[in-house]
């Protein structure tokens, strides 16, 4: 936008304000928000720390909260790759000094962890406060969020073990974020104004340039990648994923009714899918947690099996099947839990 146009627009807007406000156009629609309502929902925290609530939390207290509420998904040291990608790892003291994560340049780290990527500590505060813990978001107080964040920052060696994070010293932490200089906005895919006009992109100029050549465009196509044989049936039977009429059919890639079934349907299997159980458990195969077949075998002939599994599902479990714990399934209703437990103990048949 040119300066001249901007000036004209400003005049136009102020004129508009003199004539009639939009609110006058739609009487009876909407109402002012009360201050308490705005406070209840306006929870975002920006990189300049606008919106940051007052509070404080120590690394030590963060550890206690972490083990109770976070470790089941993220691992005790924020390193687990079982449920989500790891939070901590891949950063060094040199990265903290330079503000660039060397492993992103060298490709040395197999996983890109949260701490390798995140440039702004406000992002972590904001996200933990609004979305964590996974199954009961927004249940942490500001002090809890400070403590959990302090624990994570300590794991990443950004703050010492005796650190107390608060709304004042978080600015100093920002100056030690390992990838604080790792973000760029000088690209063509920001849809707003260019940096030259007060925005942050390059105004939409793309970084690739192809031309619409029509004939003899190259000597021969070079096939550089195709699906390996072992992956042919990884998405189930493609024949069952295509229409049975028309100009093509789906290729037979697996036995009928195999993996990669559609969501939906009825019965306990559909319920297990709907409640996210099948993300971590297979009927006959271990994924993150044990297969239902294994669970049924383990608890066979135990009279109190149903009650024990119900309690495990409600409160979460740890250590029975390995290091990865199962978080409490607070999002599943009691009668659904009972239905699932009975189904699992009966052998988890599809019907």
């Amino acid at each position: 936008m040119s300066r001249c146009f901007e000036a004209a627009l400003a005049v136009l807007l102020s004129l508009g304000a003199c004539i009639a406000t939009a609110a006058d156009l739609y009487p009876g629609v909407g109402r002012p928000a009360t201050p308490a309502e705005v406070r209840a929902w306006d929870i975002d925290v920006r990189p300049d720390f606008t919106g940051l609530p007052k509070g404080a939390g120590t690394v030590e207290r963060g550890l206690v909260l972490w083990e109770a509420q976070c470790a089941s998904c993220h691992g005790v040291f924020g390193e687990s790759n079982e449920v989500f990608t790891p939070i901590v790892g891949g950063t060094t003291a040199d990265d903290i000094a330079s503000g660039r994560v060397h492993a992103l340049v060298s490709g040395a780290s197999p996983q890109r962890t949260t701490m390798m990527k995140v440039a702004t500590v406000s992002t972590l505060f904001d996200y933990i406060q609004r979305a964590m813990p996974w199954t009961s978001p927004k249940s942490l107080s500001p002090d809890d969020v400070y403590a959990v964040l302090a624990y994570l920052l300590n794991l990443a060696e950004i703050v010492p073990a005796d650190f107390e994070l608060n709304e004042r010293n978080i600015r100093e932490v920002q100056a030690r974020m390992p990838n604080r200089n790792g973000m760029r906005t000088d690209h063509g895919m920001w849809p707003g104004a260019a940096a030259a006009h007060g925005g942050m992109g390059n105004g939409g100029k793309s970084d690739t340039k192809n031309t619409a050549c029509m004939t003899n465009c190259k000597p021969a196509p070079q096939v550089v990648s195709m699906l390996p044989d072992y992956a042919q049936d990884a998405h189930g039977n493609i024949a069952e994923q295509n229409r049975n009429i028309g100009q093509t059919r789906g290729k037979q890639t697996a036995v009928a009714g195999g993996a990669a079934h559609a969501a939906g349907g009825e019965g306990p299997l559909a319920l297990a899918q709907a409640r996210g159980c099948m993300a971590c458990h297979g009927v006959a195969s271990k994924i993150v947690g044990p297969a239902y077949d294994e669970i049924a075998a383990k608890y066979r002939a135990q009279a109190d099996a149903e009650a024990r599994l119900l309690s495990k599902l409600k409160t979460g479990g740890q250590g029975v099947w390995g290091a990865v714990a199962m978080p409490p399934q607070a999002h599943v209703q009691d009668d659904e839990l009972r239905q699932l437990v009975r189904w699992i103990l009966a052998g988890a048949q599809a019907r």
Partner: protein, 444 residues
């Protein structure tokens, strides 16, 4: 006999010596149904009640089916209709192993079987960050605050009283085709390109609501959109898009209310921009003077460059296209005529043309664009092809009204390397071999 043409409606003469000695012995033993199977194909033969001379005609014609000889269902037997039971193959599907938690996962639209440009609402792809809820519309509120004269609250009743607009736009996840940055990873177009849908959305321009609240357009050059789900998904949107009038606070989709999986009762529609910015279960819009660097603008949805930096706030979905039929995992039935069909789209406006190659990009022909050709919407293209039974590589290459031409894999990787996840808009290749089998390949 295994090579018998099983296509419905086809009648084929028996070739000489098509029965082996063993087959003949079986027939001599009185297994007449075996002979019928051999001539007519297993499924058709099973339905034949009595011996009918082979070659007389197609049993689908000669034997009247139940739907021609009995009473059908009454009206409203299915008060909210469902597709035919014969269409159950075409549903949203997850890609096994892609994510480990269903509440933060993706279900892909079956593009291989869709027609035209609109996605049936029940097949619209799903991507959630903390699971979906069926939100009670009577308890849903939209708040607008920040750099506005009056922070305001709107009920659904309020929003649905305001003058609505309806527009057809595509929505594509920024990670669509992301599994294929480095190499071929998935078999079909459902998994390679199925985080893509196109619908008619109905709602109120966000600009109307910001005007209503007295937004400060001079200072407030960014808005934050926030959802009501567990993750309270947040994304920064530039005010320029809002001022254009294109951004909608939408409650309608394809003539009905939004489906719960797509944000019922309210979502943001941000044409041309990746799906994560189309915040579902929209509960709040804040006007501000700086971007927010939310989790999905700082840890995910950032584009990895070869020098180890990440591009932040990449949002526009650049011009892209894909052939949906014939496509990966499909089999061509026979040699002869085919209609190559596919979809093209651009986050920067209208599709201007689509070229199609059947020889892996050596030679190209311009495809027919079917109407309507709308800005920031899917555009259907079609082109004739007579398959001679020889190997072929099918590709499509779209251009938009800005003159931008969809890049090949070589060009995209030269600019952005192979370690990224998001915004892969490279030319897709499907390889056809003599058997008629079509598979996913990458071509330089």
């Amino acid at each position: 006999m295994a090579n018998q043409d099983a296509r419905p409606g086809r009648l084929r003469l028996a070739p000489e010596n098509f029965l082996s000695d063993a087959d003949i012995r079986l027939v001599q033993q009185g297994r007449r149904d075996f002979l019928r199977k051999a001539l007519l194909g297993a499924s058709a033969a099973m339905a034949l009640p009595a011996a009918r001379a082979a070659g007389e005609g197609d049993p689908a014609i000669l034997e009247l089916p139940p739907w021609s000889t009995s009473l059908g269902q009454p009206v409203a037997a299915m008060p909210y209709g469902m597709p035919s039971r014969f269409e159950r193959n075409l549903v949203r599907r997850e890609s096994p192993g892609l994510t480990r938690v269903g509440a933060s996962s993706v279900a892909f639209t079956p593009l291989q079987g869709l027609f035209g440009i609109l996605t049936p609402s029940g097949l619209h792809f799903e991507r959630h960050h903390q699971g979906w809820h069926d939100v009670d519309p009577a308890r849903h509120r939209l708040m607008i605050n920040g750099l506005v004269k009056t922070a305001s609250v709107f009920t659904m009743d309020d929003l649905m009283r305001l003058p609505p607009v309806s527009r057809i736009h595509f929505i594509e996840c920024g990670a669509n085709t992301g599994m294929e940055w480095g190499n071929v990873a998935v078999p079909t177009v459902q998994y390679s390109h199925g985080m893509l849908s196109c619908s008619e959305y109905t709602g109120v321009p966000l600009r109307t609501l910001l005007d209503f609240c007295g937004a400060d357009y001079r200072k407030g050059r960014y808005v934050l959109a926030e959802g009501a789900d567990g993750s309270s998904m947040t994304r920064t949107i530039p005010m320029e898009l809002v001022e254009s009038g294109e951004v909608l606070v939408a409650y309608g989709m394809n003539g009905e209310m939004l489906r719960p999986e797509n944000g019922y009762p309210l979502r943001l529609v941000v044409p041309g921009v990746q799906g994560v910015s189309w915040v579902k279960w929209l509960r709040r819009i804040e006007v501000g003077d700086a971007p927010w660097a939310t989790k999905d603008e700082s840890v995910h949805y950032i584009d990895m460059m070869p020098d180890g930096t990440h591009r932040q706030y990449t949002s526009v979905q650049e011009c892209k296209s894909v052939i949906t039929t014939p496509s990966g995992g499909q089999m061509l039935l026979d040699r002869g005529y085919y209609n190559i069909s596919g979809l093209a789209w651009s986050g920067r406006g209208r599709i201007r043309r689509v070229d199609v190659s059947t020889d892996g990009g050596i030679n190209w022909r311009e495809a027919r664009l079917e109407t309507p050709v709308l800005s920031k919407a899917l555009t259907r293209f079609n082109i004739d092809w007579v398959w001679d039974g020889k190997p072929a590589i099918l590709q499509s290459r779209a251009s938009d009204e800005t003159g931008y031409v969809q890049p090949g894999y070589g060009q995209l990787r030269a600019a952005r390397g192979t370690r990224s996840i998001y915004h892969n808009n490279a030319i897709q290749s499907w390889k056809v071999i003599e058997s008629g089998e079509v598979s996913n390949v990458q071509v330089l």
